[in-house]
């Protein structure tokens, strides 16, 4: 009997979600039951939990989805290592239940919110969003989540609250990347309050109709589709409402390279590389780059948030 440890399994051996689901259905149909299901798990497939109740939305219907395999094996999640494959390999010890998110700062209703309560703040909805990484690659991801605005409304920010700060988990015992001082842990991201209230901004709890895998920021992460991917803090434990613009982790790490806004903008280069085009993940060796769109293609919905601002200065 051969049982592979996670590290023995190359990404290519992992069955894509679609194939896997079909196989599951087939196994069920054949009535082969637990034995085969077990053998499926031994191939390195994490047990997945379907999200029972969520609605589809019209966002991104025209886009071709990036495969489950690519979305879950090509990650920037430095808390689990700086290599793209490392998060998927290193999340084994990380526990996402129980999980609470603490709502703090300039709010009338500070409180702790269990992940189950958080998932019920608003009807869960699938949002197919483009995700543009600051490094020049992109994906199309079917998130499942709730609008961040529903949490903001629950918290009832005071008149002093101008920004929302989202703080990620940083547990050296279960997140090996945190043991190295690569970044100033915990990871901090932040939005202006109006950005946080925007209907495109979501807290994602699922992917491809299933509970979010740990390497993608389980159990809850921020998704702001018109900003570079690093704005989307993962595995969030605290949400703070503050008056002054917070210093985010990447601003502290390299202020010349990463600004507070980090809006996708093909006309403003990163100091070290061009942002004019991007490489869509899932192509082959001969796939070409595609032009990057202003605000990642969401300009119609969000450009008015930045009316009159010099986006070269506020990059």
């Amino acid at each position: 009997m051969l049982i592979g440890r996670p590290s023995d399994i190359t990404a290519s051996e992992i069955t894509p979600a679609t194939v896997f689901r079909k196989r599951r259905a087939l196994i069920k149909a054949a009535g082969l039951g637990t034995m085969m299901a077990w053998s499926g798990l031994s191939l390195g497939e994490e047990p997945k939990t379907k999200i029972q109740d969520y609605s589809k939305s019209s966002y991104g219907q025209e886009e071709k989805l990036t495969s489950y395999r690519d979305i879950t094996t090509y990650n920037n999640f430095y808390e689990f290592g700086t290599g793209k494959e490392q998060p998927a390999e290193n999340v084994g010890q990380f526990k996402t239940t129980p999980w609470t998110v603490s709502i703090e700062g300039e709010v009338l209703k500070p409180r702790k919110l269990g992940i189950e309560e958080l998932m019920k703040l608003a009807p869960l909805e699938e949002r197919i969003y483009r995700m543009r990484c600051v490094e020049g690659w992109s994906m199309v991801i079917p998130w499942v989540g709730i609008p961040l605005s529903s949490l903001v409304k629950l918290a009832q920010p005071t008149g002093n609250a101008k920004f929302v700060e989202l703080i990620s988990a940083a547990d050296p015992a279960t997140m090996p990347g945190v043991r190295a001082p690569i970044l100033d842990w915990p990871y901090v991201e932040a939005l202006r309050l109006d950005e946080a209230m925007h209907s495109l901004t979501i807290l994602a709890v699922g992917l491809y109709g299933e509970i979010l895998p740990a390497q993608n920021g389980a159990p809850v992460r921020l998704v702001v589709p018109w900003k570079y991917g690093f704005k989307g803090g993962k595995s969030i434990v605290r949400i703070r409402f503050v008056e002054k613009m917070p210093q985010t982790t990447w601003m502290r790490a390299a202020p010349r390279e990463y600004g507070f806004y980090a809006n996708v903008n093909p006309t403003v280069d990163h100091p070290r590389w061009s942002q004019a085009s991007e490489r869509r993940i899932g192509g082959n060796v001969f796939s070409r780059r595609t032009p990057t769109l202003m605000f990642n293609g969401y300009a119609d919905q969000v450009a008015q948030l930045y009316a009159g601002m010099d986006l070269r200065k506020h990059f």
Partner: protein, 197 residues
């Protein structure tokens, strides 16, 4: 070491040095280049160019430290493999990454320091590859040695290229930088010692 065994070692290293290229083709044909295959090819060819370069620069220090004179006969091949992988690296950049979009490539090289130093390293290694033949060594005589001092700036620019590319975790490029530093230090030590004698 006997000439025949050196010849065998050279053949062995030649095949070994082709390994990374064969691996890329294998991974490519079996769809194992990962989520971002173009990036994989660029990183792999770049890494092996750097490895070959450091190995070629390690020949003299190892010869001095361990009295392994025969190593010198491997140096040219290692240097040429550096050039080979650097050319593949550049070709992957020009073709697979940018599809010969010359305006975009030109802007990329001029505007972005890490691209520029990598490009300079490649340009400076061209005369080294061109003058690597026995005939050129004979023809250039003493000037050949002076010309091939270019290997040092090539190595420094190559390591800088890697260092400036990395976003935050610079541990990998620092390993290359450290090895280069040690190799240069050993040379410096022997140069100063010889001068005193």
């Amino acid at each position: 070491m006997a000439p025949t065994s050196i010849a065998w070692i050279k053949r062995g290293i030649f095949l070994l040095a082709l390994g990374p290229l064969i691996r890329l083709f294998w991974l490519g044909f079996t769809d194992q280049l990962g989520a971002n295959p173009v990036e994989f090819i660029e990183h792999s060819t770049g890494t092996w160019a750097l490895v070959a370069l450091l190995l070629s620069l390690a020949v003299t220090p190892l010869r001095l430290l361990f009295n392994m004179g025969w190593l010198v006969s491997l140096r040219r091949m290692l240097g040429l493999f550096m050039f080979f992988y650097a050319c593949l690296h550049f070709l992957a950049y020009l073709w697979l990454d940018h599809w010969f979009d010359w305006a975009g490539i030109g802007a990329d090289i001029i505007k972005h320091p890490y691209v520029l130093v990598g490009f300079l390293a490649l340009i400076l290694s061209i005369p080294l590859a061109v003058t690597s033949t026995d005939a050129m060594i004979r023809k250039l005589k003493r000037r050949w040695k002076t010309l091939h001092l270019l290997a040092y700036p090539v190595a420094i620019l190559g390591v800088l290229h890697y260092l400036w590319l990395v976003k935050k975790d610079i541990s990998q490029p620092l390993i290359y930088a450290l090895i280069l530093f040690i190799l240069l230090l050993i040379r410096l030590y022997y140069r100063l010692k010889l001068r005193r004698v």
